[in-house]
């Protein structure tokens, strides 16, 4: 199985093919609905976004509270389609990949192709299992959003399935 690391390079992305299973290591950023709204507002207004976007991977995830002695609470993917309206803006601003569950809109598929990015799935509804691949977690920004804040999490061999590749091939098409 192919292993990839974040931040993603164009060379790494080019090799990925829809339907392929890969293992991801490195730092990724969680962001859901409200964090997307804020990030996009910043980008659209020409402000500097509060996190580095270039080459980064956004994980559509809002973890549960972290129990004592654990690195993170349960942390599975949320439905990606709710982020569709924001994704082309963030892709234009430099993000290279997204992790979530479910289908994406035609506009998102086109933007992924245009910017040479990638959309991954991970095991949906397997939030306890996925904690096992997280090595570190820190809150970066938007702490007032609670579970919807942006967390930087460092993962090791996080299991992914390539769902939409840089050529625009879609696993659900």
């Amino acid at each position: 199985m192919r292993r990839i690391t974040s931040p993603l390079t164009k060379a790494q992305i080019k090799n990925l093919k829809a339907g392929e299973e890969v293992l991801l290591s490195g730092a990724i950023y969680t962001a859901r609905d409200q964090a997307h709204r804020r990030l996009c507002e910043a980008v659209v207004k020409g402000k500097k976004p509060p996190i580095e976007l270039e080459g980064q991977i956004i994980y559509y995830c809002g973890p549960t509270q972290t129990p004592p002695g654990q690195i993170i609470g349960s942390c599975g993917p949320t439905t990606s389609a709710r982020m569709d309206e924001f994704t082309p803006i963030l892709l234009k601003a430099g993000i290279a990949g997204m992790i979530g569950k479910g289908r994406r809109s035609k506009e998102v598929v086109a933007a992924i192709k245009k910017y040479g990015a990638v959309y991954f799935l991970t095991y949906a509804g397997c939030a306890a299992l996925l904690t096992q691949y997280v090595k570190e977690k820190t809150c970066v920004v938007y702490q007032d959003l609670g579970p919807e804040a942006i967390y930087k999490i460092t993962v090791e061999n996080f299991p992914l399935i390539v769902a939409i590749d840089a050529k625009g091939r879609d696993i659900y098409a």
Partner: protein, 279 residues
Amino acid sequence: MRTIKVDRITQVVAELCIRANLFLRKDVLNALRQAYFREKSKMARCILGAIIKNAKIARQKRLPLCQDTGIAVVFLELGQDVRITGGNLNTAINKGIELGYRKGYLRDSMVAHPLLRGKPVFSGGVIHIDLVKGSRIKITVLAKGFGCENKTALKMFKPTAGWKEVKHFIIETVKNAGPDACPPYIVGVGLGGTAEYAMFLAKKALLRKITTTTGYAFNAKLESDCLKDLNQLNLGPMGLGGKTTALAVNIETHPTHITGLPVAVNISCHALRSATTVL
């Protein structure tokens, strides 16, 4: 008359919130295991294997099965010979939800107002109280994930519509949910009553063990007929193909008006989480 203190109800609701979120229902786990052995597709087996492993890790590490620990929907069957003392029942249940979600390290997924939104909090579930005979209280907490709740559908059919049209609507609702709401699904269906009662029945249908029927032979036939068709859609686990699109279809019915036929569909993801205690 038997008396039960509200504090006891708060404690029980809190425990049920945690139990529902950490321990996958046995009927659901068994259905997943059977599906795993039935599937031929490598990807479908791989995903079902991960789902089963997830239940084991959640149980062992005391972690929620899903990061979306749901909206707590509390069903109370309140015996009419019970007297509740020491405070207000609704307040006690709400306190129990907040306590359970905090203590169980579940997620603060609630906002106080649907438009104002604001900082997520732990409290604010939905409570259904039904008066029944006897002197017991049956309390059930359903931790309903909202990815699948978003796929809910209601249609008011003409009274001349038949099962064929109703089934088509159920199947279209599942197809519309597609891969987004974590298939394999458990499909709750409410037929009859009024619009809001059909919806209530659809949700209540999810509480019934998926291996059991309501006792109406006719309803059981509809359930297995619909399940068979759903599992031929080739949607499969995570929507990546396979024989397991749904683990069960649970149908509840109620008398309705000569002028209509309400049909409500409430889908649950594979992590169907509920827990019950009888006091």
